[in-house]
C-alpha cells in the first residue's frame, strides 16, 4: 500500500486545479442527451420520423439503426454517441494532463520528492476521470429518468456512457506511459478514436449489432441495449477493461524513468539547419501535419471504399420534408450524400476545425514556456513570429484537406470503378479550406487581443457553430441561422458544383482580415 500513499491528497489537489475544466465534460453529456430528447419530443410524429431515419442509408451508415424503435431509442440513437465522445475525450485528456503534462513541466518531481507513493499520481488521475465519467453518466440517467423513462434503462444508459469515460481514462494513462510529450499522447488518443470510428461505421453497415460494436464506446449502447434487453454484464467487462489498463499503467510506470516515456527518444545524428521563425514553426509542427494527413487519408480511403455499398433507395416522404436536410440529401443521392457528409464532418466541423484551433492555441503555450521571448529578443518582429506560425497553420490545413480529398475520392473511384469521383471528392474536400481558415482567423484574433481567455473563447465559438449545425439538421433553426457559421458556405448539403466561389473568396478575405487584426493586437500587448 506504500505505493499509494498520498493518493487522496493528490486527488484533492487535482479537483482544485480542474474546477473550471471538469464541469465542461461533466455537464455537456447531459445537455446533449436532453437536447436530443427535446428535439425528438418536438417532432409532430416522432414514430414515423424515426422509422424513416432508421431506414435512411446515409444516416444509418454513420449513426446505425435506431434501437429499440421507440422514443427512448430515438434519444439514445444520437445522444449516446455524442455523450460518449465528450466523456471519453474529457476523461482521457484529464488523465494525460495530470500524468504527462505534469511530468513535462517538472512539477511531478516536486510532488514525488514528498512522501508520495509511486502509483499515487496515476491512481489519483484515473480515479478523478472515472469518478467524473460516472457522475456525467448518472446525470444523464437522472435526466432520462426524470422525463418518465424506465429506471433500469435510464441507469444502464448512464452507466454505458460512464464506461466509455472509464476505459478511456485507463487508455490515456497507458498511452501517457509510452510517450514523453503530452501532445504525442493526445495525438495517440485521437488516432485510436479515429480507428474506432471505422469500426463504428463497419458495425453500422453490418446491421448495427455485429462484434464491431464492442470496438467503439459510442456504440456500446448497442451491446448493453438500455430500454430493451437491459444487459448489465457488459458493464462489468468494461469496468474490468478499465482496471486492466490501470494495472498495465502501473507495470509500465515501473519500467520507465520519471520524465521519460517507454518509447525512447531517438538520438539526433545530425543537427538540422533551422534558420528562420517559419522554418522553426514548420519543424515543430510538420509531424502533426503528416500524422493528420496520413490519418485522414486512411479513414478517407475506407469511407470512399464503402460508399458504393450505401443503398440507393430513395428516402421516405416524411424525411424529405424534414427541414432543409431531406431535400438536400434527395438531390445528392445517398452515396454522394454519405461521402459529402463524411468529408464535411472530418474535413471541417469535427476534424480540421479542432486541428487548427489547437494549432493556433499552441502559440500561447510557446509564449508561456518562454520560447517566444527568446525569438523576439533576436531581430525577429512580432509580425514575423506570429505570421510564420499562422502560415504553417494555413498551409498545413490545406495540405491535409488535399490529401484527405484525394484519398477519399480514390477510395470511392476504386470501389465504384468510376474515376470521375476522384475529382469530385477532392473538390469537396478543398472547398472546406476557406471555412477552416476562418477558424484560424478567429483563433488568431482571440490570441492577439485576449490571450488569457483565447482558448476558452475559441472552443466556445466552435461549440456554438456546431450547435447551430445540429439545430439546423433537426429543423429547429433555418438556413438563415446557418449563414452565421463559416461551415455553411461549403456545406455538405450544397452539391459541389453549386458552391458559390464568391462566398469562398469572401471567406478567405475575412480570415485574412481577422488574422491581420490578431497580429495588430499581438504587436500592442505585453509578452508573458
Amino acid at each position: 500500500m506504500k505505493q499509494f500513499t498520498g493518493t487522496g491528497k493528490l486527488l484533492r489537489l487535482y479537483i482544485r486545479r480542474d474546477w473550471l475544466l471538469l464541469p465542461i465534460w461533466l455537464f455537456l453529456p447531459v445537455v446533449l442527451v436532453s437536447g436530443q430528447m427535446t428535439f425528438v419530443k418536438a417532432m409532430p410524429d416522432w414514430r414515423l420520423f424515426i422509422e424513416e431515419l432508421s431506414e435512411s442509408a446515409i444516416t444509418s451508415a454513420w449513426l446505425g439503426p435506431i434501437y429499440p424503435l421507440s422514443l427512448e431509442g430515438a434519444i439514445l440513437w444520437r445522444g449516446m454517441l455524442q455523450a460518449a465522445i465528450v466523456v471519453l475525450f474529457g476523461a482521457a485528456f484529464t488523465v494525460i494532463r495530470h500524468i504527462r503534462t505534469e511530468e513535462m513541466s517538472g512539477r511531478s518531481e516536486l510532488i514525488l520528492g514528498k512522501p508520495v507513493g509511486r502509483y499515487a499520481n496515476v491512481t489519483a488521475a484515473v480515479t478523478l476521470s472515472c469518478a467524473g465519467s460516472l457522475l456525467a453518466g448518472l446525470l444523464c440517467s437522472a435526466s432520462l429518468f426524470s422525463s418518465g423513462f424506465a429506471a433500469g434503462g435510464s441507469l444502464i444508459a448512464g452507466l454505458t456512457i460512464a464506461a466509455a469515460g472509464c476505459v478511456f481514462a485507463g487508455l490515456g494513462s497507458v498511452l501517457a506511459q509510452f510517450f514523453g510529450h503530452s501532445g504525442q499522447v493526445r495525438g495517440a488518443i485521437f488516432g485510436v478514436y479515429g480507428l474506432m470510428m471505422l469500426f463504428m461505421v463497419l458495425n453500422n453497415v453490418n446491421g448495427g449489432y455485429s462484434t464491431w460494436a464492442w470496438l467503439n464506446p459510442g456504440a456500446w449502447f448497442r451491446v448493453t441495449a438500455p430500454f430493451a434487453e437491459n444487459h448489465i454484464w457488459p458493464l462489468f467487462i468494461f469496468a474490468g477493461l478499465a482496471l486492466i489498463m490501470l494495472e498495465l499503467s502501473y507495470a509500465l510506470l515501473n519500467k520507465r524513468d520519471m520524465g521519460a516515456g517507454i518509447i525512447a527518444e531517438r538520438e539526433r545524428t545530425k543537427n538540422a539547419d533551422i534558420k528562420s521563425p517559419i522554418a522553426l514553426a514548420w519543424h515543430s509542427h510538420k509531424r502533426a501535419v503528416v500524422v493528420w494527413s496520413a490519418g485522414l487519408s486512411f479513414i478517407g480511403v475506407f469511407i470512399g471504399a464503402i460508399t458504393p455499398s450505401i443503398s440507393m433507395d430513395t428516402m421516405g416522404e416524411m424525411l424529405a420534408q424534414l427541414s432543409g436536410w431531406g431535400p438536400a440529401m434527395m438531390k445528392l443521392g445517398n452515396q454522394e450524400g454519405f461521402i459529402a457528409l463524411s468529408v464535411y464532418i472530418l474535413g471541417l466541423m469535427g476534424g480540421l476545425s479542432v486541428f487548427v484551433l489547437t494549432f493556433v492555441q499552441s502559440m500561447r503555450g510557446e509564449e508561456n514556456e518562454g520560447y517566444t521571448e527568446i525569438l523576439l529578443s533576436k531581430p525577429v518582429s512580432r509580425l514575423k513570429w506570429m505570421g510564420s506560425y499562422l502560415a504553417v497553420a494555413f498551409v498545413g490545413s490545406a495540405i491535409i484537406l488535399l490529401a484527405f480529398g484525394i484519398m477519399s475520392g480514390l477510395g470511392w473511384s476504386i470501389g465504384s470503378g468510376n474515376s470521375e469521383h476522384l475529382f469530385r471528392v477532392t473538390a469537396m474536400s478543398i472547398s472546406k479550406i476557406p471555412s477552416v481558415w476562418i477558424i484560424i482567423g478567429i483563433a488568431a484574433l482571440l490570441y492577439g487581443w485576449l490571450p488569457r481567455i483565447a482558448s476558452f473563447l475559441g472552443w466556445l465559438i466552435w461549440g456554438v457553430f456546431v450547435l447551430i449545425e445540429m439545430l439546423w439538421e433537426a429543423g429547429i433553426v433555418g438556413w438563415s441561422a446557418m449563414k452565421w457559421t463559416p461551415f455553411s458556405y461549403a456545406h455538405y448539403s450544397i452539391p459541389i458544383n453549386e458552391i458559390s466561389m464568391i462566398s469562398l473568396i469572401v471567406l478567405v478575405l475575412i480570415s485574412g482580415a481577422f488574422t491581420a487584426l490578431g497580429i495588430i493586437g499581438f504587436k500592442r500587448r505585453n509578452i508573458i
Binding site: 513535462m104 514523453g180 510529450h181 527518444e265 538520438e267 539526433r268 545524428t269 543537427n271 538540422a272 539547419d273 533551422i274 534558420k275 528562420s276 521563425p277 522553426l280 519543424h283 515543430s284 514556456e369 518562454g370 520560447y371 521571448e373 527568446i374 525569438l375 523576439l376 529578443s377 533576436k378 531581430p379 525577429v380 518582429s381 500592442r524 500587448r525 505585453n526 509578452i527
Partner: protein, 299 residues
C-alpha cells in the same frame, strides 16, 4: 555615449507597481552589475528594455533607440540570455544555437565550436534532456558567439558550476577588452565584484544605489579585526559599530571617514595583529535588503 538609459521608468500591472521609477545609466564599454533581491524588478526592467513589456511611464532608451518601437533593429545589435532558460524540447542544443545566430545574421561556426569546447557542451543532445546548467550554457554560447555590441544577461550563471563560472568570467573579460558593453543582472555577488565596473541596486522597483564599487564602499563601513596587547574601551570612540570581543581579539566596523581617528586611538595599545576588510557587496546588499526585512517586521 549611454548604451542604456532609463528615467523614472515605471511599470504597473493594475494596482500593483512593479517598477516605481527606475533611473539607470549604462555607459558604452562598461560591465554593469544589476543587483537586487527576488521580485525587486530586475527582470521587469530587462524585459522592458527588450521590448517584451510596454512601459507604463517614464523613459527608456536602448542604444539610442526606443526599445518598444525599434525592437527589431535594436535586437540586431544585442544578445540576451534570459534568467530562466527554456528551450524547445525537441530541438538539439546545436540547433538552437544555430537558429539564434542565424536569426541575427550569420553563425560564426569557429567561435561556436570554441565556446562549446570551453563550456564542455554536447550540442547533439535534445534540449529536453539538458539540465538547467546545460540549458544556460546553450543560451550563453549563442549570446557569446554573436557579434552583439551589448549583452543583456539575466542571472546567466545561476545554474553553472564553479569551473564554468570561471570560464564565464573569462569570456566576459575578453568581450570587455573588445569594447563591448555588458549588462549583468546577478545574484552571485562575488561574480559582480569580480566583473563589474559599476553597480546598480534595485529594491522594490526603485534604484536605491548606483555607482562604482569604490563609490558604494564609501557609503558603508570597513570591518576591522585587531589583537591588542593592552586593554581599552572602544565603546567611547566615534564612528565605531558592532563591537565584539573574544579575549584579546576585537572585531568591529568603522565608518569610512572615522578610520583615521580609530587607527590613531588603537595604535598605542600594542597591536599584535590587524586585518582591515573593505565591505563586500554582500554587506552592501544586506544593508539595503535588511531595511526591507526590518520594515516588514515593524508592519
Amino acid at each position: 555615449m549611454n548604451v542604456i538609459e532609463t528615467r523614472k521608468l515605471t511599470k504597473s500591472y493594475g494596482r500593483q507597481e512593479a517598477l516605481r521609477g527606475v533611473d539607470l545609466t549604462v555607459k558604452q564599454g562598461e560591465v554593469y552589475g544589476f543587483i537586487g533581491p527576488n521580485g525587486s524588478g530586475k527582470s521587469t526592467t530587462i524585459r522592458i528594455l527588450l521590448g517584451m513589456l510596454r512601459k507604463s511611464g517614464g523613459e527608456a532608451k536602448l542604444l539610442g533607440g526606443d526599445p518598444w518601437a525599434d525592437a527589431v533593429e535594436l535586437h540586431r545589435r544585442i544578445a540576451y540570455v534570459p534568467g530562466d532558460v527554456t528551450l524547445w524540447p525537441n530541438l538539439t542544443g546545436g540547433e538552437v544555437i544555430n537558429l539564434l545566430n542565424r536569426l541575427g545574421g550569420k553563425a560564426n561556426t569557429s567561435r561556436i565550436k570554441e565556446l562549446l569546447d570551453r563550456f564542455q557542451l554536447d550540442p547533439k543532445k535534445r534540449c529536453r534532456s539538458y539540465s538547467k546548467g546545460n540549458r544556460q550554457k546553450v543560451a550563453l554560447v549563442a549570446a557569446l558567439s554573436s557579434d552583439a555590441e551589448l549583452l543583456i544577461l539575466d542571472e546567466p550563471t545561476s545554474g553553472l558550476d564553479p569551473l564554468m563560472e570561471q570560464i564565464f568570467q573569462e569570456c566576459i573579460f575578453e568581450l570587455k577588452k573588445q569594447g563591448k558593453t555588458i549588462f549583468l543582472s546577478s545574484h552571485i555577488l562575488a561574480e559582480v565584484e569580480a566583473l563589474c565596473d559599476r553597480v546598480g541596486i534595485i529594491r522594490q522597483g526603485e534604484i536605491v544605489e548606483e555607482g562604482t564599487l569604490e563609490e558604494l564602499r564609501h557609503l558603508t563601513r570597513t570591518t576591522v579585526t585587531v589583537e591588542l596587547a593592552k586593554s581599552m574601551s572602544l565603546n567611547q570612540l566615534q564612528g565605531i559599530h558592532d563591537i565584539s570581543r573574544k579575549e584579546e581579539k576585537w572585531r568591529f566596523s568603522v565608518d569610512v571617514n572615522a578610520m583615521d581617528e580609530v587607527i590613531n586611538a588603537i595604535a598605542p595599545m600594542g597591536i599584535k595583529s590587524l586585518t582591515v576588510e573593505p565591505s563586500t557587496l554582500e554587506e552592501l546588499f544586506i544593508r539595503h535588503y535588511g531595511d526591507d526585512i526590518q520594515e516588514k517586521a515593524v508592519k
